[in-house]
């Protein structure tokens, strides 16, 4: 490129700067727009929907009960019906706990053994007590829990959101 004399900007240099500026401006608009479009899922929060899983009175005190339910939810442009279930435990009919029905070891479905009063996983012999704590076997952590609440006698849970173990 031609050397500019001191204090002067040549036509070529000026046009180069203008062209570079326009390219940068267009690139910034398209780039920022594209990045917002591409990265916006990072700022989407999980579904907040509470799912009605039936009357609270259906859960016998002290007997863990498996509740099956169908969840209708949006999946991007689609609405899907997802069948899932939860183990619901209550000792007094007022405070409820809902466990994810998958063993925390490798995700097998476990069952309640009424005689031993323990949750047993058939796959690798994981054993949990009524509070979901590991009693025996390979599971690395207690059973995962869902948020659960009672409203007007109906049990509501949020099956997508795991609750941190207190």
């Amino acid at each position: 490129m031609a050397q500019d004399r001191p204090g002067e900007v040549s036509r070529k240099t000026f046009l180069g700067i203008v062209t570079g500026g326009i390219v940068a401006a267009i690139g910034a608009v398209v780039g920022a727009t594209g990045l917002a479009y591409f990265a916006s899922p990072a700022f989407k929060s999980e579904s907040e929907d509470w799912v009605d899983i039936g009357p609270a009175s259906a859960i016998k005190h002290g007997v863990p009960t498996k509740v099956d339910f169908t969840q209708r939810r949006r999946d991007a442009w689609d609405v899907i019906e997802q069948r899932s279930s939860a183990w619901v435990v209550t000792s007094n009919g007022a405070d409820f706990t809902a466990f994810d029905p998958r063993c925390t070891h490798l995700g097998c479905p476990y069952r309640w053994d009424a005689d031993k009063k323990e949750f047993l996983c058939p796959c690798h012999g994981g054993v949990f007590n009524e509070q979901g704590q590991v009693v025996a076997g390979p599971p690395p952590r207690p059973l995962d829990r869902y948020f659960v609440k009672v409203e007007k006698g109906r049990l509501l849970i949020r099956p997508l959101v795991k609750r941190a173990i207190a």
């Binding site: 479009y37 591409f38 991007a76 442009w77 689609d78």
Partner: protein, 237 residues
């Protein structure tokens, strides 16, 4: 200019890749001088290239949220328009960019024709350009179906029926376009694959060839009035 003597990372890069000489060949080459509005006609090729890049970027982003299937296409396009951040804007760019492509390649071809810029030694550039025109129309035709609204459906119905009028091979051609005897899911996946895989590969190769020849031959001069010949025909001047 010998930038190879530069110290530092720039000189290091130039010495090993020669990008400085590539840059000079592409952007510091001599172009003919044109006066007035005629000089704007020389921007049509670059404008087409710019819009093409824009189509590639926006199209890639749209493909991240689009499903080429009759039961999801319309909903996924609506999802892009209503739920994805900046989705409406990016789809708008792709939509208008598609029309701009066709307009720009048309004008670019007219300018090349009326200035006689297709003549020796630039016939190869012209022939590749004709192929590029066909590919751009192919992009337009296949992309038009993808929103799967009424306009898309019936336009493709008409378009494939026109292909069906071809003598002898028409009925087969129509079924090849549609992926079967009826328009439906197989038509959409077929058009989508053409739109995002086949045509981009072809257009990429053709653009490289076209641009190489543009740089290789240089840009043609604007046609000028030959003084002697015109003086003979118009004695008054």
């Amino acid at each position: 200019m010998s930038a190879s003597n530069d110290g530092g990372p720039r000189g290091w890069l130039y010495e090993r890749t020669g990008v400085d000489r590539v840059w000079d060949a592409l952007f510091a080459r001599k172009v003919p001088e044109a006066q007035g509005w005629v000089s704007w006609l020389y921007t049509l090729g670059s404008a087409t290239l710019f819009v093409f890049v824009l189509q590639a970027v926006t199209g890639t982003l749209l493909a991240m949220n689009y499903v080429p299937s009759p039961d999801h296409a319309y909903d996924s396009v609506r999802y892009i328009n209503t739920s994805v951040v900046m989705g409406h804007y990016l789809r708008g760019l792709h939509h208008w960019g598609a029309s701009a492509m066709v307009v720009l390649v048309g004008l670019h071809m007219l300018r090349t024709y009326f200035m006689g810029a297709y003549k020796y030694p630039r016939e190869g550039t012209w022939m590749i350009g004709v192929l590029l025109l066909v590919v751009v129309i192919g992009f337009g035709f296949t992309g038009y179906l993808l929103p799967w609204d009424q306009k898309a459906y019936w336009a493709t119905m008409v378009g494939t029926n026109i292909a069906g009028q071809t003598p002898f091979i028409g009925p087969y051609l129509k079924k090849i376009f549609r992926g079967g005897p009826e328009m439906g899911a197989a038509t959409m996946t077929r058009f989508y694959a053409l739109h995002v895989l086949v045509l981009p590969a072809i257009v990429g190769a053709l653009i490289m060839g076209h641009l190489f020849l543009v740089v290789w031959h240089g840009i043609s001069e604007p046609p000028t009035r030959a003084a002697d010949a015109d003086a003979e025909k118009e004695p008054g001047r």
